[in-house]
């Protein structure tokens, strides 16, 4: 045994295949590359504005945006606006996703109920809900609740349709197995239908958070006393384009943050499953 090992070791640098290390290296280099590209783009934006290649009156520049944001944050109401917008977005998103999922899942219970409702669900989904915003603002007032309702409207049907797709994908043989084990319909619903539909519901989360934010912003555009949307509209009216950019950047950051939060929720909900 020792002699064979010794023979093997005669080559001081044997080539060892290590796929794990290679994969780690690949993802590390990718991450560095992504950060570098981002920083480079911001740097180019800044330099182009300083060298007057782009007109900084319209396009602003990262440093100006930073300064404007700082002022708006310390002297203005940027923080309150941010909380207002993110609050209504998240609340509308949660309500829309939760109620939408329940609605979609409920279609499992009855053949006729689901088949009769389905065309109306699709029709309702086709309505451009943002076009209804003025009506909703009149109905629910110019305060917080009308924004929540808009965010809710944007997400509820999408989620319901996603959950319904999941319901349709439930394996008939699994239902049969459950009944052979003496299951009642409730058991099948909780132990098979909900877990089967979960990946479908979860896949709608990422789209939903962006839709909810769009709903809230439009609500604020139409009529509001607070929120980033209102801030952008106001800044545009007084030709403070730098402040418009601050709004856009803050909304982008909010959107990215909420995106990562949903990725985290996804992982939590699909724990222990291999990727579909």
């Amino acid at each position: 045994m020792e002699s064979t090992l010794a023979q093997l070791n005669q080559n001081p640098f044997p080539y060892i295949e290590d796929e794990e290390a290679a994969a780690k290296r690949r993802s590390r280099i990718t991450l560095y590359g992504q950060w570098t590209l981002g920083i480079l783009l911001i740097l180019l934006w800044e330099l182009f504005a300083r060298w007057k290649i782009i007109d900084s009156y319209y396009w602003s520049s990262p440093s100006t945006i930073w300064k404007t944001a700082y002022t708006a944050f310390t002297e203005g109401t940027l923080l309150e606006d941010l909380l207002y917008t993110s609050g209504s977005t998240v609340l509308g998103f949660i309500l829309g996703t939760f109620i939408g999922a329940l609605l979609g899942l409920s279609f499992w219970w009855s053949y006729y109920y689901s088949r009769i409702s389905e065309p109306y669900l699709i029709a309702f989904n086709a309505i451009p809900k943002l076009a209804l915003a003025p009506v909703l603002v009149i109905l629910f007032g110019i305060g917080f609740s009308s924004k929540v309702v808009l965010a809710f409207m944007m997400t509820v049907i999408v989620t319901a349709l996603a959950a319904y797709s999941g319901v349709k994908a439930v394996d008939k043989d699994l239902e049969k197995l459950m009944y052979s084990l003496g299951a009642k319909r409730w058991h099948v619903f909780t132990k098979v239908v909900i877990p089967t539909s979960m990946p479908w519901i979860v896949s709608s989360l990422k789209i939903n958070i962006a839709l909810a934010l769009a709903g809230t912003i439009v609500g604020e555009f139409i009529s509001s006393r607070q929120g980033i949307g209102r801030m952008i509209l106001y800044a545009g009216q007084i030709m403070n384009i730098n402040l418009v950019w601050v709004g856009v950047v803050v909304l982008s950051l909010l959107s990215i943050l909420m995106y990562f939060a949903t990725v985290w929720i996804e992982k939590l909900l699909l724990k222990g499953r291999s990727a579909p």
């Binding site: 052979s180 003496g182 058991h187 132990k191 098979v192």
Partner: protein
Amino acid sequence: MHKLEIKNSSKIFRKNNKDFYALKDTSLQIKEGSFVSIIGPSGCGKSTLFNIIAGLIKPSTGEVLLDGKDIVGRNGYVGYMLQKDLLLPWRTIMHNVILGLEIKGISKKEAISQAAPLLERYGLGGFENHYPDELSGGMRQRAALLRTLLYDQDIILLDEPFGALDAQTRLLMQEWLLQIWVDFKKTILFITHDIDEAIFLSDDIYILTQRPGTIKEKVTVPLARPRNEQTLLSTEFIELKEHVLKQLKTEE
């Protein structure tokens, strides 16, 4: 009294305004603790018969008596394992195996303490916390069968459980199944279209005809137990195989 008796069961379906029999006038008498196989060409109504016994569909005519009690159209009285293993992919092996107990309303803790020694003893020790995706076909079938077993009914229906396994694994699984049958003293009904498998495992074999499915012959297997690979080579085995083969051939 027989443990399970199926009396003159038929199942008629209507398609394109034409009626056809999936199962016609079938009667079976199953003794307590016996291992009975049902063999026949595909589409002969074997699975229909099982669905009727399991109470998942209603027969057009006839009765299903368990210990003399009519169980037509009532589910949950027999253990039923379908062709596919049907393990829930989001549950670990342990949580799959205790599914039937959970439905009965037994607490998870209690169910796990019941299941743990079984998993250990029947070749799934160390895999309790694995997900079905991580297991081989044979292991998955073991888990599916233990799930049926743990549900603890006197009669277990097995619908071609080893159909998708390779020959070597299949033989191992057959011996494993016989071990379980001996240990638990269950009555087993087994669907297969593999003649070797039917003879190797069974006390009785029912040969079903091509559509409309009806019983052509009941063959009693006189081979001594315990059986092993040597059994497969004995003259009695080969003669019996010849007989069953001939019966099935005239069906085609």
